[in-house]
């Protein structure tokens, strides 16, 4: 038997039986709206953290850009979340329960709290434009509180989506559960850094880019190489192409962020590259899991290996 866990770049063609080659587990009935949500949710989280950092260290341009980007990303996320329901008009049925065994339920509550905070923080940026003197006075401190709250919730928003995918019978998502949150956390950081590099390039955004990219690349590498047969769907086909493209764009983005310090244009392009990388990586992870659910070998072979390991021979 091939070792489980260790590096296994060349996976031999699996020998297994099935019912006319039909899938065993069912792929999630989700469209790429969900993959897009993985990206926009991460972007909202990364931007809110950028804004909170800017706020705490007196960098108003980072703060403003982060808050506005977070609000935009949250609005897009809301759309993607609802659009993929079979009964969108029943979205609010998710608010009738809070269920810790359901990452989607937990996530809806995280998302709701985050949206409220991010919305207030972004609204506060409009303070100078408001005619009322009272509002001009009150809005900034309220915005600061909301901005810090959004920043505090952001890491949960960025990482729960990894649990959302992993807590399924989809073989390659489930197998990736130890590293997936790190990929998503890194990807969210990198996309937030991308916003910073475009709006106000400086050391914080550059460092955030480097740290985010390192997390993302490390996690993705583990997922692509240490899951035996279940790494294969991430390395082959459309998912493989997406993840390779994402990796290239991440590397280019980080290189540009670090080496292009002196140029606004290079910094902005690096930011764009990181944003694109974050989106493409999410689509790659999404597609890899879906491919693993469609082919019965990814359900049968690892389970057979598990049985063989359990039985003394």
């Amino acid at each position: 038997m091939s070792p489980r866990g260790g590096d296994r770049p060349m996976v031999p063609k699996a020998d297994f039986r099935s019912y006319y080659g039909r899938p065993i587990v069912r792929p999630a009935p989700w469209t790429h709206d969900v993959a897009a949500y993985l990206f926009t949710g991460g972007l909202a989280a990364g931007s809110a953290l950028l804004a909170a950092g800017g706020q705490a260290t007196g960098r108003p341009r980072l703060r403003r850009a982060g808050r506005v980007a977070a609000l935009g990303a949250v609005a897009a996320s809301g759309y993607f979340l609802v659009a993929d329901l079979g009964r969108p008009e029943r979205f609010h049925h998710m608010l009738r329960v809070a269920k810790p065994t359901s990452p989607m339920s937990v996530g809806v509550w995280i998302f709701s709290a985050f949206s409220a905070a991010a919305g207030v923080a972004a609204a506060a940026e409009a303070a100078p434009l408001v005619p009322s003197r009272f509002a001009r006075k009150v809005l900034p401190p309220v915005g600061s509180a909301a901005g810090l709250a959004a920043g505090a919730i952001a890491p949960a928003l960025a990482t729960y989506t990894a649990v959302l995918l992993a807590d399924t019978a989809t073989p390659s998502w489930h197998a990736a559960y130890p590293e997936l949150p790190f990929v998503f956390a890194g990807s969210a950081l990198a996309s937030g850094a991308g916003v910073g590099l475009i709006a106000d390039p400086g050391p914080p955004a550059r460092r955030m880019a480097v740290l985010g990219a390192a997390l993302e690349l490390y996690g993705a590498h583990r997922i692509e190489t240490t899951k035996g047969l279940l790494s294969e769907p991430y390395a082959t086909g459309k998912a493989g192409r997406l993840l390779r493209t994402g990796r290239t764009l991440t590397a280019a983005g980080v290189a540009g962020a670090v080496l292009g310090k002196r140029s606004r244009v290079v910094s902005a392009l690096s930011g764009l590259s990181l944003l694109a990388a974050s989106a493409i990586t999410r689509f790659g992870i999404f597609d890899g899991g879906m491919a693993s659910a469609r082919d019965p070998q990814y359900t049968v072979v690892p389970q057979k290996e598990r049985i063989a390991g359990k039985m003394p021979d």
């Binding site: 953290l49 950092g53 989607m104 019978a169 956390a185």
Partner: protein
């Protein structure tokens, strides 16, 4: 609560029922199934399940394909070369060199049901009989249960948008009736009753088949020790589970959920720390 996510458990009391009736279940003995599909038809009739189109799949005598939102019983047909030809009493050929395996598949009404665990609306619930049922007036079609079922049973219905599956005829068993499929089955391949009783009957049946030389007979989903804490609907099979389209060693995904949240928490802390480092580092 220790076992709520994994391990042996009586699901109805765990879900909060006081004085729950005995857990009810199906024992599907595929060794006597004749592939008549009476169960498929009876289920559709009783539950008013819409038809799923007329497809010829070219797979033996199976044109249903599998369980779906519109097929809550599915009779699998497997044509196999037979390693040990035996006399079946069929005229014309006394020792056929192939065999048919037939099996009526259904929702397993798992002790630890992934579908139920992950449902974010509470549409899926545990009944007093220990079965798992979707409330169609609550489901919003998020599709999470579909991805969480280790058997690929529950499914979102095209056009309707909601998730559907076998209810073990919740509306019948509450009145002491037998579910439509078991009622219609002419060979008692589908047996309905108290799960404990069925488990005993199944153990006897396997022992009898082994005594008759049918070495390949085995139970599937009967053990509380398996990855889903045992199935409310379990089977006697004559070949490996995957041959019938069943997962060989299913494990409820939520077994790892506490670990998953831990990893996510660690990643979230790493993320917050990274931002702190990014902003608190030197100014240039």
């Amino acid at each position: 609560m220790a076992n709520s996510l994994y391990g042996p458990l009586d699901p109805a009391p765990d879900a909060g029922y006081v004085d729950a009736p005995p857990r009810m279940g199906f024992f599907t003995d595929t060794s006597v199934c004749i592939g008549c599909k009476a169960c498929e038809v009876a289920c559709k009739e009783w539950n008013a399940v819409p038809d799923d189109g007329f497809d010829l799949l070219g797979q033996s005598y199976d044109n249903t394909g599998g369980l779906s939102a519109n097929s809550w019983r599915h009779v699998a047909f497997i044509e196999q070369p037979r390693p040990d030809p035996v006399f079946l009493g069929m005229p014309g050929q006394d020792k056929p060199d192939f065999r048919w395996l037939m099996m009526s598949n259904v929702c397993k009404h798992c002790t630890h049901a992934g579908c139920l665990d992950v449902c974010p609306t509470g549409a899926l619930f545990r009944t007093e009989f220990g079965t798992v049922v979707v409330q169609e007036d609550v489901c919003n079609g998020c599709g999470y249960c579909v991805a969480a079922c280790p058997y690929g049973v529950i499914d979102r219905r095209e056009g309707d948008g909601r998730a559907w599956k076998c209810t073990m005829c919740y509306d019948r068993i509450g009145d002491g009736l037998t579910p439509a499929c078991a009622q219609a089955c002419p060979t008692e391949s589908i047996q309905y009753g108290e799960l404990d009783v069925l488990r005993e009957a199944a153990a006897e049946r396997v022992a009898k088949l082994h005594a008759e030389g049918v070495e390949s007979a085995r139970l599937y989903g009967h053990s509380e020790e398996d990855g889903v804490g045992g199935d409310g609907a379990f089977f006697l099979l004559l070949d490996e589970p995957e041959v019938y389209g069943l997962p060989p060693d299913p494990v409820v995904t939520t077994k790892d959920l506490p670990d998953m949240w831990k990893r996510a928490g660690l990643a979230a802390l790493t993320m917050a720390a990274s931002v702190a480092v990014a902003f608190l580092g030197r100014r240039r």
